[in-house]
């Protein structure tokens, strides 16, 4: 009986599915339950009311989303040319280049962030919004370059030649052929940069020396220093973040497989 079960290889998936349900789905459901209950376990929407009544919390939320959007835009502006130049290079160098762009990620990101803070100190730059944006772009730029580079690299050269044969100049070829074909990579890049920046909590503290609070830090505090009394509120905030994440991943839904392939 058991041997029959094991022999059917599709059954090999069930332990993993069970684990995912228990350690991924159930915990997410728990966030929902905590968000809609009070400390006594009674149903309430008080946690959300509390969030919308506190202008400070709402402002933090809007500010975090804005910062994440700006970071993502800067990463596109800086990352697209980098990916393009890498993809257009001769055959051997891209491997070295792409390696050079991943290598920094092997140094612990908190330590890198702290070193960035030191750089700002050395040049006597203030630690504020500028430092925050710089640090975030610095941490997540490789996540934008990679997916774009991957899609650019896969573009069939004959398409570019065809475009030139049909009379397009280089600029037209770029705008009408290369950019549209690379959009899936840009979408994955947007997701891979936006999601971690909107939810970050440690980086902002270190980069601004607690001057700027982001939504992630707000959530973290409700589970850390606030003690058990803040958990329900924190769960409500987490649920709001989950909604943002869900919306973003729907935005790039067609390209989920693309992300998967790259990872």
């Amino acid at each position: 009986m058991t041997i029959k079960l094991i022999q059917n290889r599709k059954n090999w998936v069930w332990p993993y599915v069970a684990i995912l349900c228990f350690f991924v789905i159930l915990p997410l459901v728990l966030i929902g339950i905590y968000a809609f209950t009070n400390q006594q376990g009674e149903f309430t929407i008080q946690n959300f009311v509390q969030f919308f009544q506190k202008s400070e919390a709402v402002n933090t939320f809007i500010y975090s989303v804005t910062i994440a959007v700006i970071t993502t835009l800067i990463c596109i502006v800086l990352g697209y040319p980098a990916a393009y130049f890498m993809a257009m290079q001769s055959f051997r160098t891209p491997a070295v280049m792409s390696m050079l762009f991943i290598l920094p990620m092997w140094i612990n990101f908190l330590l890198r962030t702290l070193a960035t803070v030191e750089l700002f100190h050395m040049f006597n730059l203030p630690l504020g919004e500028g430092a925050l944006l710089f640090g975030m772009c610095y941490d997540f730029l490789p996540f934008m370059i990679y997916p774009i580079y991957n899609t650019l690299q896969k573009i069939d050269v004959s398409l570019l030649e065809a475009s030139q044969d049909l009379g397009a100049n280089r600029w037209e070829t770029f705008i009408k052929v290369i950019v549209p074909l690379s959009l899936p990579g840009v979408y994955s890049g947007i997701i891979m940069v936006f999601m971690p920046t909107v939810s970050t909590f440690a980086i902002s503290e270190l980069l601004t020396q607690n001057k700027i609070t982001l939504f992630g830090s707000l959530i973290q505090r409700s589970f850390g220093e606030g003690g058990i009394t803040m958990w329900n509120y924190g769960a409500a905030l987490s649920l709001i973040m989950l909604i943002i994440i869900g919306l973003t991943s729907f935005f790039g839904n067609d390209d989920n497989e693309d992300i998967n392939r790259q990872a």
């Binding site: 094991i6 059917n8 290889r9 599709k10 059954n11 090999w12 998936v13 069930w14 332990p15 993993y16 995912l20 350690f23 991924v24 789905i25 159930l26 915990p27 997410l28 728990l30 966030i31 980098a82 130049f85 257009m88 051997r92 491997a95 280049m97 390696m99 290598l103 990620m105 092997w106 140094i107 612990n108 990101f109 908190l110 330590l111 890198r112 702290l114 070193a115 030191e118 100190h121 050395m122 730029l141 999601m195 971690p196 939810s199 909590f201 440690a202 270190l206 992630g216 959530i219 589970f223 924190g234 769960a235 987490s238 973040m241 989950l242 994440i245 989920n256 992300i259 392939r261 990872a263």
Partner: protein, 281 residues
């Protein structure tokens, strides 16, 4: 002739601009790392304050004792290093086994179910680490499990396994499905067929999944932060975080990460040389 020259000139300019841009980005990207490496050769408490060249910090790191100041190097640093390694290797090992078995299962599912399971598989990858951390934190509290080494390893397995599944899947699509059946027909038990047929075929995917898991686990901060509990368990990430919040990083972190960086650099160069040699052949 004229057109050719103009094209060439344009190419040179194009190359200068593109190369220049890439190198400029790299310089910015590497500046903080260089700063860490440079200041690992001086003994100041703070990064950015040069007090003369010395290998003192490296000595401290290896002996665990600062001779000139007569103080011990924070023992928590070594504990954090060991915990980081223990967690990373056990999580990566479990994730690789679980992910490989799951990938074989997913591959043999009908299209419809496969999509469903792949969606489930993508949730831990899409979830930000703060959400993964908090949701698992609530689960462990709900179940009354006290947090510590085991809960951190479980959490790391959860966010690493999806990547293993994704690195093993392409190997399965390339593999001839009949080989495994043949092994069974020839009398191998499923376990034996798994060891002798599937594992060797899937090995490269498993290795890259394992390495990816190691990287993710070592670099993780958010999930560890919420699942480690308050019994003094620290990984390098959480150690650095609490260190930075106390004000002032342990100086020995500089040589430690310089060494880690150099090791990775050497490993990457070696693997790069090997693959380029293979291409030449």
């Amino acid at each position: 002739m004229i057109t050719k020259i103009s094209i060439d000139r344009r190419n040179i300019w194009g190359r200068v601009v593109s190369q220049g841009y890439l190198w400029l980005l790299l310089v910015v990207l590497y500046a903080p790392i260089l700063l860490i490496i440079i200041f690992s050769f001086t003994k100041s408490k703070v990064l950015g304050n040069w007090t003369g060249f010395t290998l003192g910090l490296y000595e401290n790191l290896f002996t665990g004792y600062d001779l000139s100041d007569q103080v011990r190097v924070d023992p928590n640093l070594y504990r954090a290093l060991i915990y980081t390694m223990v967690i990373a290797f056990s999580a990566a090992l479990v994730a690789t086994l679980l992910g490989t078995i799951a990938a074989v299962g997913i591959f043999n599912l009908k299209q419809r179910y496969r999509k469903g399971v792949m969606f489930l598989n993508s949730i831990p990858m899409i979830n930000p680490d703060i959400i993964t951390g908090i949701s698992l934190f609530l689960l462990f509290v709900f179940l009354g499990i006290s947090r510590g080494l085991v809960t951190v390893i479980i959490a790391h397995v959860i966010f690493c396994t999806p990547y293993v599944v994704l690195s093993v899947m392409p190997r399965l699509t390339k593999m001839n499905p009949n080989i495994y059946e043949a092994a069974l027909d020839l009398g191998a038990t499923p376990v034996k067929a798994f060891n002798k047929v599937l594992i060797p075929e899937l090995w490269p995917g498993m290795i890259s999944g394992f390495i990816l898991s190691l990287t993710l686990s070592i670099d993780d901060f958010g999930v560890t932060f919420f699942t480690k509990g308050s019994n003094g368990l620290e990984t390098l990430s959480t150690f650095i975080y609490s260190d930075a919040r106390k004000g002032g990083l342990t100086p020995e972190l500089r040589p430690l990460f310089s060494l880690i960086f150099l090791t990775i650099l050497v490993l990457l160069i070696i693997s790069n040389l090997r693959t380029s040699k293979q291409i030449k052949k």
